[in-house]
Every structure is written in structure tokens, then in C-alpha cells.
């Protein structure tokens, strides 16, 4: 017997929640309990009185599963709103990465040259290393990291995606 799976598509969800103890476990646990994918998840407090947090989740699944994910998130008591940015249209996605590269000579020069092309900033340096800060879409960050592998990549830290709709309207 074979276990079959449907074709998945990638969606970015912005979820506004009460900033309370256990909320992240509630959201992450819903995904694990129901077998949904999380490609990345970011969370931070976003209101002046620290009452609300925004969670950006990149998930993937067949369209019916994406609909279920939204409905399941929406019925959690501390969830205020769920916006499917992929569905609502034009939006901006950004991710930040800190990339540590070590090396000397030609590799070091090449790393700096690539960083310039990608508009990555040097945020720390020694005679034998750099830490680059790069922001952009996940694809851009992926490409930069792939190039750095050839230039002495030591370590990477990534934030995961944050995203927001284009235009003057709020979510």
C-alpha cells in the first residue's frame, strides 16, 4: 500500500493574536496536531500596550488544507484575525539573515564583492572573517547563502519571513 499526497502550494499568513502566555504553543501545536506544515514562523509584540502580537506563518498545502488552516486558526479563542497574504494579493515579504564567513585572500575579497552585489551590510569583521546582514525575499537570502558556501561560510541565523500587504489599507 502506498500513501498518496496532494500537490501543495505556499501561503503566507499574518495572524494577529492576544499577547498571552502559551499563545505560540497554541498556534504551533495546532499545526503539529493536525499535520500542517510550517516553513517558517515569526512572532513579535506589535501594539503600544503589548496586548497584541503578530505571527507570520509560511505554510504549504493543497488549497483545501490552506482553507482549513485559516478556519482552524480563526476559531482559536485568542486569535483576532487571520489574513492570507498570498490570497489577498500584492504584499511584501522580507527576511533577515546574519551570515558569518571566514577566510583570507581571494575568498575573502570574493565574499565582500558578493555582499556588495546583494547589498548585504558588514556588521562585524575581523582580519579573517565577516558577519553580513542581508535582508530580502527568502529566495534572495537563499542565493546569497549558497554563494557564501563557496567563500567560507561558517554559520547562518535567519529570522523567517515577515510580510505585509501593499498599499494604504491595514489588514
Amino acid at each position: 500500500m502506498k500513501i498518496t499526497q496532494q500537490k501543495a502550494e505556499r501561503h503566507v499568513l499574518a495572524v494577529t493574536v492576544d499577547n498571552e502566555a502559551g499563545i505560540l504553543a497554541r498556534i504551533a501545536g495546532l499545526f503539529s496536531a493536525r499535520g500542517y506544515n510550517i516553513e517558517s514562523l515569526t512572532v513579535a509584540d506589535i501594539s503600544a500596550d503589548h496586548a497584541l502580537s503578530r505571527i507570520t506563518i509560511v505554510t504549504s498545502g493543497p488549497p483545501a488544507v490552506i482553507d482549513q488552516i485559516i478556519a482552524q486558526l480563526d476559531r482559536l479563542v485568542p486569535v483576532h484575525s487571520v489574513i492570507d497574504l498570498t490570497e489577498t494579493g500584492a504584499h511584501v515579504e522580507r527576511e533577515l539573515a546574519l551570515v558569518k564567513v571566514a577566510g583570507t585572500g581571494e575568498k575573502r575579497i570574493e565574499a565582500l564583492r558578493m555582499a556588495d552585489v546583494f547589498r548585504a551590510k558588514v556588521v562585524d569583521t575581523t582580519l579573517t572573517s565577516f558577519v553580513f546582514e542581508i535582508t530580502g525575499t527568502s529566495d534572495k537570502v537563499d542565493s546569497f547563502i549558497a554563494l557564501m558556501r563557496e567563500c567560507g561560510l561558517v554559520e547562518v541565523g535567519r529570522t523567517g519571513v515577515v510580510a505585509i500587504g501593499r498599499g494604504s489599507e491595514g489588514g
Binding site: M1, D18, G22, D67, Q68, R75, L76, P78
Partner: protein, 597 residues
């Protein structure tokens, strides 16, 4: 600088209460009359506060799982939330099965759990467990209250959440020092929740679209579920009116039995795996399914790609996530089942719709009915063994005029009860549908009997399920609950044995109920009346004795050991592939079917 006039200290002192007093006062203010629980170290302050509040009856169970099921029985029979009070650690973990059962069957329940003091949380203290972590995904919502001033708002909010929208269990975990510390009792002014606002009123455009489909359907069928029961008795009344207006047949899930009267000619019986042939065939051939408060569970749909292939679907549900989860809806109506049905009735009348001629549809249904799928082979001699179906039918005939409340355990007896016991009204049928919890029925009967001391409450049980919470005989004895337990004793975990017969060539691995107790002696040991019957000729007299005997009675009804529950849609089969009787069983299944539950 003028010194502010000091407020009299007594005013603040008078307003302050201990956390435990706040908890009990909040329960009183919320109209709670009964709490099912079991004391322990981490809830002693609450038990002490309860001692001073005789207006709340505390029912002492013998195991915390039974407290949760009893609260479910109380809730399902009354429509009011059930309340549970248990201690930390094992008290909380024992309650988890009952809490999960309530989540699956959308039963309103509030569970108060004790917790170790805030200063000890996270230190692996005695009887500590991560109750909010453990119950996060088996509750509708849960709380850990770290400040006694939050107790008032949290308890009021918890009852609101448990009872509004799709009902469900809410756990409030309360550390012991929060029960002892003092704070003002704050009653929230408005219960409107900042983020939880379920849609109750259906969208009028959706109702209009639904009406258009209903008005033009030639083979419509109502498929109703537990949501109609949860919407209150008036939802059942309005369902009957809508059915009368449209003339369409009605089937229901296990959870929805009683919303539509079993004696009505439009009633097709339950649908699904052990549903009737006519209900399943009508679902398969329908051109319109009107699903009300039902969720297209796998037990209902059978093989999904063959489920009702030619029908449009109207799906009415208070939980948006139930719609399009399993089966795509053509018209989605998010709202309370009762309000949505009322909107359909009002819309039907306002538009001047008249009943379509469904004669051809009913003729086909009569053809399916003619198979008499619930008939079973039987020797009618007085000395013959009792068929389990006959036992349920005899119980029904002997008690129907008494309007009993029936609970069940889980397994074959549950399905026979669903098939052969007729329900005319909602809130009379208490069973574990979603989770399928063996051990549910007996404590649930106790909960219903506490709510209705003068009603006839019968738990139809299997000998295996009953043993999962049989310790509750002590609870019945203590509170003189006159619950009747009617055991269909076939000495097997019958449904497991049936599946082994169907799927595993009768290799009966561990499904025999060995070393059974003498149920009559056991009953007597607890001060109950015990009866035993094993001849068909004695069945009616035994049931009569059971009904007429005051106090709790246990009937050990010995039934045919190898009887199987039919009709049956085998695992992985379509509605049209029902097995109607044992002769159709082949004894094997392919792996695809074996992999399904």
C-alpha cells in the same frame, strides 16, 4: 499639598476574598448547582470554600475520568454546562479522556484543576503536571490563573466560551497559592469577548441561496447532527416544521438522534457505517443534501470519493472550520443551527414556496425501506437465547411511555441501541460519538440522573465497556441515584471481534472478555439490585422488574455471543456497498481498507 482623604481600610478588606471563595462565588453567580469532582491536595482550599456553599451540590465520583463523563451527561441532558473539579497531577490527567470526549462531541464543560503553587511550577513538584500544556489541544480553550484578581473574569469568560458558538470544554488551572491569596472578586461587566465572537446569525444571502436549492430539489434529504441538539430544544421544533414544509426525508448522525422523532414517517433512521440501508441509499442518490449541525465524519461518509456523487450540498454549521473540511459545500451557512433553520422556515414562507411533489423520490425510498435492513434472524422460543437487538427492542417497548434518558458505552451495543431504540425528543440520547470512549455511558448516566432525579435513566452497556468505569457503582450508592444499567453481555469486546471476523479471518486476538465478574453479586456488594436473564421468555419480566425496582439496578442480560451488528458499510466502502447480513461477510480486506479505522 492636601492629603487625600484616606479610604476606610475595611472597604478594601471587605471586598477582598480568598481565591477559593472567589471561585465558589463565581460558580454560584453563574447558576451552577452541581459540581462533579474528587478532592486532593491542590484543591483543598476550594473544597473548603464549597463546604460553606450548600447551594452547590458536589457529587463525589470514584475516578476523575468519571467526573468529566458525568459532567457531560449532565450537560447533554440539560443543555447547561457541566462543571468538574479535580486536583493537580493525576486528577487532571485522569480527566483528560473526558475532556477530549467533550471536545469531540461539542459538550459545554468547565473543568477546574488544582495546580501546585506558582512558586513550585516547573520544579517537578509533588503531583505537578503541565495541565495547560496537556489540555491545550483537547480543550476549546484553557487558562492558567496566576493572580487571584483574575479568577472572577476568567471563570465568567470560561463559561461564556464553553457555552457560546460551538460548545466545548474549557480548563481553568489554578495554583494552590492563588486559591489561598486574597483579591477583589471582579465580575466582568460585559461578557463580549475581545477576539472570540462566533457567528450565530446566518448570512441572509446564504439563506437565500439555500432556499433556492431546497425549493427546486427533487430528491432532497436532511442530514442532521449534534449541532441541532446543541442549539436547544427549539431547534428540534423548527427542524420538524421545516421538514413538514418541504416534505423531505430526514436522517441523522449518531449525535443527532432525537432531534427528529423516530416515529415520524419521514424519518429514515441513522446514516453511516451502521446506519440504515434507506438512509445511506437516499444520501447516495439525493440531488440535495441539507446538512445541519453535522460534520461529514468518516463514520458517516464511508468512502469519500463515492459519497453522494450527484448531490448539491448545503452545509449549516456554527463552526466555519467544519464546512469544506471533508466535503465541499455548494452553499455554506455559518450560524447557529436553530437560527439558521428558523431563517429557512421564515424565508420559505415569505417566498411563498410550496412543497414539491416528491412522490417519485419517496417511492424509491420505500423500495429501499422494503429491504427491512434492521431485521435480524431470531429463534422466538421462550428458552431461546436472547438476540441483542431483541433485548434493545424489548427495552424500548417497555420504557418508551416513560420518556427515558438513554446512555451507552461504546461498541456493538451502542450501535444496536442507536438502531433499535427510537427517540422522539432531543437530550434523551447520551453517547460518545467522536472519541468513542468505552467507560462513558455509566458515569454519563449518573450525571443525567443527578440532573433529573425522578426520570428513568438507563445505561445500555457492554460487559467490556462497563468495566472501564465500574467503580462508579459507589457514587450511585452514595447519592442513591436510581440508575439502571442494562448490560448486553456477550462475553466479547463485540465490535473488536466483529472487525476481526470481517478483516482478519476470525483471528480473535485479545477480544474475549475473560474472567468476568458475577455482575449480580457485584451489584449486591454495592447495595444495588442485581438481575440476570438468559432466556428470551424471561426478558420482558426482567425489564419490568428493573423498571419497578427502586434504586440502582444492574441487569446482566446474556445475549447471543457471536451476533454481529448489521447493516454495515465496511471500512473503505461506499454507501451503496452495505453489508446487510452475515452471509455477505468474506473475512478478508485489502490493505487500503485495513488501514482505515
Amino acid at each position: 499639598m492636601t492629603a487625600p482623604f484616606p479610604a476606610p481600610a475595611t472597604m478594601n478588606d471587605a471586598a477582598e476574598m480568598s481565591g477559593a471563595q472567589i471561585i465558589v462565588q463565581a460558580l454560584v453567580d453563574l447558576g451552577v448547582d452541581t459540581v462533579f469532582g474528587y478532592p486532593g491536595g491542590a484543591v483543598l482550599p476550594i473544597y473548603d470554600a464549597l463546604f460553606e456553599h450548600p447551594q452547590i451540590t458536589h457529587i463525589l465520583v470514584r475516578h476523575e475520568q468519571a467526573a468529566a463523563h458525568a459532567a457531560e451527561g449532565y450537560a447533554r441532558s440539560t443543555g447547561k454546562p457541566g462543571v468538574v473539579l479535580v486536583t493537580s497531577g493525576p486528577g487532571a490527567t485522569n480527566a483528560v479522556t473526558g475532556i477530549t470526549d467533550a471536545l469531540m462531541d461539542s459538550i459545554p464543560m468547565v473543568v477546574l484543576t488544582g495546580q501546585v503553587p506558582t512558586t513550585l511550577i516547573g520544579t517537578d513538584a509533588f503531583q505537578e503536571c503541565d495541565t495547560v500544556g496537556i489540555t491545550r489541544h483537547c480543550t476549546k480553550h484553557n487558562y492558567l490563573v496566576m493572580d487571584p484578581a483574575r479568577l472572577g473574569p476568567v471563570i465568567h469568560e470560561a463559561f461564556h466560551i464553553a457555552t457560546h458558538g460551538r460548545p466545548g470544554p474549557v480548563v481553568i488551572d489554578i495554583p494552590k497559592n492563588v486559591q489561598v491569596a486574597t483579591a477583589p472578586y471582579i465580575v466582568p461587566e460585559q461578557i463580549e469577548h475581545r477576539s472570540y465572537r462566533p457567528q450565530v446569525e446566518p448570512d441572509s444571502e446564504a439563506i437565500a441561496s439555500a432556499l433556492a436549492l431546497i425549493a427546486s430539489a427533487r430528491q432532497p434529504i436532511f442530514y442532521t447532527g449534534g449541532g441541532v441538539i446543541n442549539a436547544g430544544p427549539e431547534a428540534s421544533t423548527i427542524l420538524r416544521e421545516l421538514v413538514e414544509l418541504t416534505g423531505a426525508p430526514v436522517t441523522s448522525t449518531l449525535m443527532g438522534l432525537g432531534a427528529f422523532p423516530a416515529s415520524d414517517e419521514k424519518w429514515l433512521g441513522m446514516l453511516g457505517m451502521h446506519g440504515t440501508y434507506e438512509a445511506n441509499m437516499a444520501m447516495n442518490r439525493a440531488d440535495l443534501i441539507i446538512a445541519v449541525g453535522a460534520r461529514f465524519d468518516d463514520r458517516v461518509t464511508g468512502r469519500l470519493d463515492a459519497f453522494s456523487p450527484h448531490s448539491k450540498k448545503i452545509h449549516i454549521d456554527i463552526d466555519r472550520s467544519s464546512i469544506n473540511k471533508i466535503v465541499a459545500a455548494d452553499v455554506s451557512v455559518v450560524g447557529d443551527a436553530g437560527r439558521s433553520l428558523a431563517a429557512l422556515v421564515a424565508g420559505w414562507k415569505a417566498a411563498g414556496h410550496t412543497r414539491k411533489d416528491l412522490g417519485e423520490w419517496w417511492r424509491r425510498i420505500e423500495g429501499w425501506r422494503a429491504t427491512r435492513c434492521l431485521d435480524f434472524p431470531e429463534d422466538k422460543a421462550p428458552e431461546a437465547e436472547i438476540m441483542p437487538q431483541r433485548a434493545v427492542k424489548a427495552l424500548y417497548e417497555a420504557t418508551r411511555h416513560l420518556d427515558p434518558i438513554i446512555t451507552t458505552e461504546v461498541g456493538q451495543h451502542q450501535m444496536w441501541a442507536a438502531q433499535h431504540f427510537g427517540f422522539e425528543e432531543p437530550n434523551r440520547w447520551l453517547t460518545s460519538g467522536g472519541l468513542g470512549t468505552m467507560g462513558y455511558g455509566f458515569p454519563a448516566a449518573n450525571g443525567a440522573q443527578v440532573a433529573f432525579p425522578d426520570r428513568l435513566v438507563i445505561c445500555i452497556a457492554g460487559e467490556a465497556s462497563l468495566q472501564m468505569n465500574i467503580q462508579e457503582m459507589g457514587t450511585c450508592a452514595q447519592y442513591r441515584l436510581p440508575v439502571k444499567i442494562f448490560i448486553l453481555n456477550n462475553e466479547w469486546m463485540g465490535m473488536v471481534r466483529q472487525w476481526q471476523e470481517l478483516t482478519y479471518e476470525s483471528r480473535y486476538s485479545n477480544s474475549y472478555s475473560d474472567s468476568l465478574p458475577d455482575f449480580v453479586k457485584l451489584a449486591e456488594a454495592y447495595g444495588w439490585t442485581g438481575l440476570k436473564v438468559d432466556r428470551l421468555g424471561d426478558l420482558d419480566a426482567t425489564i419490568k422488574t428493573m423498571i419497578e425496582t427502586p434504586g440502582p439496578v444492574m441487569v446482566d442480560c446474556r445475549v447471543a455471543k457471536l451476533a454481529n451488528c448489521f447493516p454495515m458499510i465496511p471500512s473503505g466502502a461506499a454507501h451503496t456497498d452495505m453489508l446487510l447480513q452475515a452471509a455477505e461477510v468474506t473475512g478478508t480486506m485489502d490493505d487500503e481498507a485495513k488501514a482505515l479505522v
